[in-house]
C-alpha cells in the first residue's frame, strides 16, 4: 500500500478567535481553477455576520487601546507564521487562482512582505497624518488619527491572498477590527491566513472571516448599522453601488477604490480626533 488516504480539512469561519461552522450548518463546494473539487467551505449566514460584528465590536476598544508598538508586534507575528507556512499558502493560492507554483510563491511572498509593511505602520500613522495645530489662542491643539471602529471588508474575488492581506490589514493596523467576506470562489487562502492569526497573538475578534455567497452576505454587512465603514473594492461596480446605498443609512465610510496599498487605504477608515486644551498657569 503506497497511497495513503489524505485527511481532508474542513474550512470553517473565523469568528471571535474561534472557528465555528456556519450557524446555518450549510457549506458550499469550492473548486480549483480547473473545476476539481477542492473543499466544502462553511457557508456563512446572516447570523454569522451578526456574530462576527458583535465580536469585532467587542474587540475594537481593546485593540485600539493596545499600544501601537504592540499592534505592530502582533501583525509582525502573523508575518512570521505565514512565512513558516509559505509553501502551504502558495499551494492554496495556486489551486485557488490557477497560478503556476512559482507565481503563487511570489504572490505569497508579496503578501507576507505586505504584512510586514503594515506591522511597521502601526506606530507611524499618527506621526504621518496627525498634527499639532497652531490655533490663534492659548490652546494646545492636536489632531490624532483614531480608528473608525468596525470595518466590513468585501475581499477581492480574484486575488485570494495578496489583495485580502491589504484589505484587512490596512484597517486593522490603525486600530479597527474587521469582518471580512472572503472571495466567494477562492476562499481557502484567506481561511488559512485566518487560522494563522490564531497563533499570532491576534486578540479574538480583531479579524473575523466569513466565507459564503457574497451576493447574499454583502448586503447584510453593508446595511449592518453597527459597522462603521465598508471596503467595497472587492465587488463589481453595479453591486458596489447597491451596497454603497445601503451603507449610507448609517453614514458609513465607504472605500470604493482600494487599489494597492497606498496611504489612501490606511486613511480610508481613520477618523481625525482633535483635542483642544487650554494653556494657562
Amino acid at each position: 500500500m503506497s497511497d495513503r488516504l489524505d485527511v481532508l480539512k474542513t474550512y470553517k469561519l473565523l469568528v471571535n478567535g474561534a472557528f465555528p461552522r456556519s450557524e446555518s450548518g450549510r457549506s458550499y463546494e469550492v473548486t480549483d481553477s480547473t473545476g476539481e473539487f477542492l473543499a466544502n467551505v462553511a457557508q456563512g449566514s446572516r447570523k454569522d455576520i451578526r456574530d462576527a460584528v458583535v465580536a469585532a465590536r467587542g474587540a475594537q476598544a481593546k485593540w485600539w487601546s493596545a499600544t501601537a508598538y504592540n499592534r505592530g508586534q502582533v501583525i509582525y507575528r502573523l508575518a512570521e507564521m505565514a512565512e513558516s507556512r509559505r509553501e502551504e499558502l502558495a499551494e492554496h493560492v495556486a489551486l485557488a487562482e490557477g497560478m503556476k507554483p512559482k507565481l503563487a510563491r511570489e504572490s505569497v511572498a508579496r503578501a507576507i512582505d505586505r504584512t510586514v509593511w503594515y506591522a511597521g505602520w502601526t506606530d507611524k500613522v499618527a506621526q504621518v497624518i496627525g498634527s499639532s495645530n497652531p490655533v490663534a489662542g492659548p490652546f494646545f491643539n492636536f489632531s490624532v488619527p483614531t480608528p473608525s471602529g468596525v470595518v466590513g471588508v468585501l475581499a477581492d474575488q480574484h486575488s485570494s491572498l495578496e489583495a485580502f492581506v491589504d484589505a484587512v490589514l490596512a484597517p486593522i493596523c490603525v486600530g479597527n477590527t474587521v469582518v471580512a467576506l472572503a472571495s466567494e470562489r477562492r476562499p481557502t487562502p484567506a481561511v488559512l491566513l485566518g487560522e494563522m492569526t490564531a497563533t499570532s497573538d491576534f486578540p479574538p475578534g480583531v479579524l473575523n472571516i466569513i466565507t459564503g455567497v457574497t451576493g447574499e452576505l454583502a448586503p447584510i454587512l453593508a446595511a449592518h448599522e453597527d459597522v462603521d465603514g465598508i471596503d467595497l473594492a472587492g465587488v463589481d461596480e453595479g453591486f458596489a453601488d447597491e451596497l454603497a446605498f445601503a451603507a449610507a443609512t448609517s453614514i458609513k465610510r465607504v472605500l470604493r477604490d482600494g487599489s494597492g496599498s497606498s496611504l489612501r487605504r490606511l486613511r480610508a477608515f481613520i477618523e481625525t480626533a482633535t483635542v483642544w486644551h487650554t494653556i494657562g498657569q
Binding site: A61, S65, V128, I129, S131, N133, P134, V135, A136, G137, F139, N141, S143, T146, S148, G149, D228, D241, E242, A244, F245, A247, A248, T249, S250, I251, R253, V254, R256, L263, R264, R267, E271, T272, A273, T274, V275, W276, H277, T278
Partner: protein, 486 residues
C-alpha cells in the same frame, strides 16, 4: 442670600445699544451668481428671506431651478478646464488673500447682514463669524502653493467641480469653510446657501467680484432643498460637500452612492459636556452656557447634553440656573444681546416640539425668566434636569437653546454615557486633572474634544465628526484632503 444677582437697588440696566443697520445696504432682490455675474433664474422664480427677529422681509432672492444649477455647473466646469486648472497655486493664493482682506474690510456690513438674516447676536457675528470667515480664507490661501508639502504625495490634483451645500447657522463662515480649501486645492465651486440665510453669501459674491476672481470659479445658487438636490444629482459635479442634518446627509450619501462623486458630510450632533467634580467651576459654568446657548444652540457641535458628576450636580445646576437668568435674550442687533432669535418658524416649531417631550417624559424644566419680544421667533434658554439617557431630549438633536442635564459617577460611566449616541461630533471635558482629561479624551468617540473650553473654532484646527455626525474634516491640513484626489 438665595439670589445675589438681583437687588432691590436695581442693577445696571444696559440701555439698548443697537448696531446701525445703515451699513447694510441690501438690494431689493438678488439674482444667481453664475459665471461672475448676478443673473436672473431661468424660470424667474424667487423667494423672500426674512429677518427672524422681526418677521420683516429683507430681500427677494432667486430660486434656482435645475436648469440654473446646470448653468452654474457648466460655468464651473468651463472655468476649471480653461482657467483655474492653469492658474498657479501662487496666483490662487493671492486671490484667496484678497478675499480674506475684503471680508475684513467689509466686516461690519457682513456682520449686520448676517445678524439680520440669521437672527444671531451681533456680538457673535461681529466677533466670531466674520473674523473666522476671513481667517479661514487667509489660512487656506497659504496652502494653495504648498500642496506638495501637505503630506498627500507629490503634485496632488484637485477633484474638479465641487458642489457645496451649507446650513443656515453660520452662513458666511460655512461658505468660507467650503470655498477656501476647495479653491486653494484648485477646484471650482457651485455653492448653495441655506434657504433662510442666503444674503451674506451674496455679499460674498460681490466680494469675489471685487477680488477679480475669474468668473465661474465660484458660482452661488440660492434656493430651497430642490436646488440642493439638483446640485447633488448633477452628473457634472465631482465632489459634494454638505453641512446640515444627518437626515439630509443620509439622503445625499444615498443619492451619490452610484456615482463616482467624492463626498464629505458634516452632520448633526448631540455633544456631551462632561463635568468632573474638580472642574474649574466658574469657567466651567461659562463653558456650559457657551456650549449650549452660543448661537441660540443652532450649533451642530453644541454641548446639548451636560454630563455632570453626581457629587456636584446640585451645585452645578444651581449655578447654571443663576447664570441662565442673566442671559440677555432679544434684539440681535443690540450689542449686549447674548441670545438672539431662532432662525425660522419651522426651527422654532421643532424646538418647541422636542423640548415638549422633556416634560412629558418626566424631566424637570427650567426656563429663563427673560422677557421675549412680541414679534419674531424666540425661545427662552431652557435647562432640563432629571434627564435619563432614554429620554428623547437626551438623544435627539434639538438644535436650539435647550440643555439636558444628566449625571454620572465615574469617569468610565461618563465615557459610556457620552458615547451612547449614534452621533460623534464634539464633546467637552472639564477637569483640573490632566491625566484623566486625556484618558477621557482618548475614549470619546467624537471628532472634536474641548478640554476646559467649548465651542472654539480655528482655521488651523480640523473639524468634523465620526459615525452619524459625518465624515471628512474641515480646517487645517486635514481639510485639504476633502478637495484633493489623494
Amino acid at each position: 442670600m438665595s439670589d445675589l444677582t438681583s437687588s432691590p437697588l436695581g442693577s445696571l440696566e444696559y440701555d439698548p445699544a443697537p448696531e446701525s443697520i445703515a451699513v447694510a445696504q441690501l438690494r431689493e432682490s438678488y439674482g444667481l451668481f453664475i459665471d461672475g455675474e448676478f443673473t436672473d433664474p431661468a424660470h424667474h422664480e424667487s423667494f423672500v428671506t426674512l429677518n427672524p427677529a422681526t418677521e420683516q422681509p429683507l430681500a427677494n432672492v432667486a430660486q434656482a431651478s435645475s436648469d440654473d444649477v446646470d448653468r452654474a455647473v457648466a460655468a464651473a466646469r468651463r472655468t476649471y478646464e480653461a482657467v483655474w486648472k492653469k492658474t498657479t497655486g501662487a496666483e490662487r493664493a493671492k486671490y484667496l488673500f484678497r478675499i480674506a482682506r475684503l471680508i475684513q474690510e467689509r466686516s461690519r456690513e457682513l456682520a449686520v447682514v448676517e445678524t439680520l438674516d440669521n437672527g444671531k447676536a451681533i456680538r457673535e457675528s461681529r466677533d466670531i463669524d466674520i473674523p473666522l470667515a476671513a481667517a479661514h480664507f487667509f489660512y487656506y490661501a497659504g496652502w494653495a502653493d504648498k500642496l506638495d508639502y501637505a503630506g498627500f504625495g507629490p503634485n496632488p490634483q484637485p477633484l474638479g467641480v465641487a458642489g457645496q451645500i451649507i446650513p443656515w447657522n453660520f452662513p458666511l463662515l460655512m461658505a468660507a469653510w467650503k470655498l477656501a480649501p476647495a479653491l486653494a486645492a484648485g477646484n471650482t465651486c457651485v455653492l448653495k446657501p441655506a434657504e433662510t440665510t442666503p444674503l451674506s453669501a451674496l455679499i460674498l459674491a460681490e466680494i469675489l467680484q471685487q477680488a477679480e476672481l475669474p468668473p465661474g470659479v465660484v458660482n452661488i445658487v440660492t434656493g430651497d432643498g430642490s436646488t440642493g438636490a439638483a446640485l447633488v444629482d448633477h452628473p457634472g459635479v465631482d465632489k459634494i460637500a454638505f453641512t446640515g442634518s444627518t437626515d439630509v446627509g443620509r439622503l445625499i450619501q444615498q443619492r451619490v452612492a452610484s456615482s463616482h462623486k467624492h463626498l464629505t458630510l458634516e452632520l448633526g450632533g448631540k455633544g456631551a459636556n462632561i463635568v468632573f467634580e474638580d472642574a474649574p467651576v466658574d469657567e466651567m459654568i461659562e463653558g456650559i452656557i457657551d456650549g449650549i446657548f452660543f448661537n441660540q444652540g443652532h450649533v451642530c457641535c453644541a454641548g446639548s447634553r451636560l454630563l455632570v458628576q453626581e457629587s456636584i450636580a446640585d451645585e452645578v445646576v444651581r449655578r447654571l440656573i443663576r447664570r441662565v437668568d442673566q442671559l440677555r435674550v432679544g434684539d440681535p442687533l443690540d450689542k449686549n444681546t447674548d441670545v438672539g432669535a431662532i432662525n425660522s418658524a419651522a426651527q422654532l416649531d421643532r424646538i418647541k416640539e422636542l423640548s415638549g417631550y422633556g416634560e412629558v417624559e418626566g424631566a424637570t424644566r427650567y426656563t429663563s425668566s427673560c422677557a421675549l419680544p412680541d414679534r419674531g421667533y424666540w425661545f427662552a434658554p431652557t435647562i432640563f434636569t432629571d434627564v435619563s439617557q432614554s429620554h428623547r431630549i437626551a438623544r435627539e438633536e434639538i438644535f436650539g437653546p435647550v440643555l439636558s442635564v444628566l449625571t454620572f459617577r465615574t469617569p468610565e460611566e461618563a465615557v459610556a454615557k457620552a458615547n451612547n449616541t449614534s452621533y460623534g461630533l464634539a464633546c467637552g471635558v472639564w477637569s483640573e486633572k490632566g491625566s484623566r482629561t486625556l484618558w477621557v479624551a482618548e475614549r470619546l468617540r467624537a471628532g472634536v474634544i474641548w478640554a476646559n473650553t467649548y465651542n472654539r473654532f480655528d482655521p488651523a484646527s480640523p473639524f468634523g465628526g465620526v459615525r452619524e455626525s459625518g465624515f471628512g474634516r474641515e480646517g487645517g491640513r486635514h481639510g485639504l484632503e476633502a478637495y484633493l484626489d489623494v
